[in-house]
C-alpha cells in the first residue's frame, strides 16, 4: 500500500485546462500557455488525496498517477 506514486501528464491528451494545477499547486505549476509543469513527480504521502482529486478532475483524463 505504501508504494510511491508518481504523477504523469499525457502531453498529447492534455489541452491545458489547468484544473490540475488549481487542485495540486504543490506539485503542478502552469507554463505561460496554461499547460502543466510537473515540478515533482513523486507524490508525498500527505498529498495523496489531493493528487487523486486532481487526477479525477482532469476533463481530458490526461493526468495519471502511476503506482
Amino acid at each position: 500500500m505504501n508504494r510511491t506514486r508518481t504523477l504523469r501528464v499525457d502531453r498529447i491528451a492534455c489541452t491545458g485546462e489547468g484544473l490540475c494545477a488549481e487542485l495540486l499547486p504543490e506539485l503542478i505549476g502552469l507554463d505561460e500557455w496554461g499547460y502543466p509543469i510537473v515540478r515533482d513527480r513523486t507524490v508525498p504521502e500527505r498529498l495523496r488525496g489531493h493528487a487523486r482529486r486532481a487526477v479525477a478532475a482532469c476533463p481530458r483524463l490526461a493526468l495519471h498517477t502511476d503506482a
Binding site: 489547468g18 484544473l19 488549481e22 478532475a57 481530458r60
Partner: protein
C-alpha cells in the same frame, strides 16, 4: 388549476416536486457542463469548482429523479408499473409524454455509467456518450410540460421558461466563444437551440395550455404508441 391537480395524492405531489427539482438541477448541470466545456474562468471561482459542482449537481439530479420515478410508480392513480421506468412509451398513462421522461432517464443512466467507468473507456468513448446528456435535457423538458398536471400554473411555466433561458444562453455563449472548425456540430447546435424554444412554445400553446389537454395527452398516445 385543473381538477387533477387538486385531486392528486401526496405521492403525486412528491413526484411532481421531485421531477421539477430534477429538471432544475439537470438544467444547472447542463449549464455548468457547457461552462466548463467553454473554459469559463470566472475570477471568483476556480475552474475545478465548476467541474466539481457539475458532477455533484448531476448526482443530485439523479437522486431527485429516483424520488420522482418511485413516487410516480407507487401513485395508485396512474398504475404505471415498474417497466415504464426503463422502457419508454409503454405506460398506460400519457404514454408518449411519459415516455419522453423514460428516454431522458435512460440517457442519463448511460451518462452516469460511462462517467463512472471513464478511465476504463478512454476519453473519446466517454465523451461520445456524454453528449447524450444534451439530448436528455429537451426530452426532460417536453416530458415535464406534456405530462405535468401543473403545466398550466404560471409559476411552473416561469420555471420552464427560466430553465430554457439558462440553457439557451449558455449554448449561445458557447457558440460565440467557439473557434472555427466543427462547422457541422456548431450548425446543429445553433439550429437545435433555435428550434427548441419555438417548438416548446408552439407545443405549449396548442397542447397543455388548451382546455382538455389531459384527455388529449392520453389520446396522442393511442395514435402514436398504440397505447395500452
Amino acid at each position: 388549476m385543473t381538477a387533477l391537480t387538486l385531486a392528486g395524492s401526496p405521492l403525486w405531489y412528491a413526484s411532481r416536486a421531485g421531477g421539477t427539482l430534477a429538471l432544475v438541477l439537470l438544467t444547472a448541470t447542463v449549464v455548468l457542463g457547457i461552462a466548463s466545456g467553454g473554459r469559463a474562468a470566472p475570477r471568483s471561482v476556480g475552474r475545478f469548482e465548476i467541474g466539481l459542482l457539475h458532477r455533484n449537481l448531476s448526482l443530485l439530479t439523479l437522486v431527485f429523479l429516483v424520488v420522482h420515478v418511485i413516487t410516480a410508480v407507487l401513485d395508485p392513480f396512474v398504475h404505471l408499473g415498474w417497466a415504464v421506468t426503463v422502457l419508454p412509451f409503454a405506460a398506460s398513462y400519457r404514454p408518449l409524454w411519459l415516455g419522453l421522461g423514460t428516454v431522458a432517464l435512460d440517457l442519463l443512466l448511460a451518462v452516469l455509467v460511462t462517467s463512472a467507468a471513464r478511465r476504463r473507456l478512454g476519453v473519446r468513448r466517454w465523451k461520445a456518450v456524454h453528449w447524450l446528456a444534451y439530448a436528455a435535457w429537451p426530452f426532460a423538458l417536453f416530458h415535464g410540460a406534456g405530462t405535468g398536471t401543473d403545466t398550466r400554473l404560471s409559476p411552473q411555466l416561469w420555471l420552464y421558461a427560466g430553465c430554457l433561458a439558462a440553457v439557451m444562453a449558455s449554448v449561445w455563449w458557447r457558440l460565440a466563444k467557439a473557434g472555427p472548425g466543427r462547422v457541422v456540430g456548431r450548425l446543429v447546435a445553433a439550429l437545435t437551440a433555435t428550434a427548441v424554444p419555438l417548438v416548446l412554445g408552439a407545443f405549449l400553446a396548442t397542447g397543455p395550455l388548451q382546455p382538455g389537454w389531459s384527455q388529449r395527452a392520453a389520446a396522442t398516445a393511442m395514435l402514436l404508441g398504440g397505447g395500452r
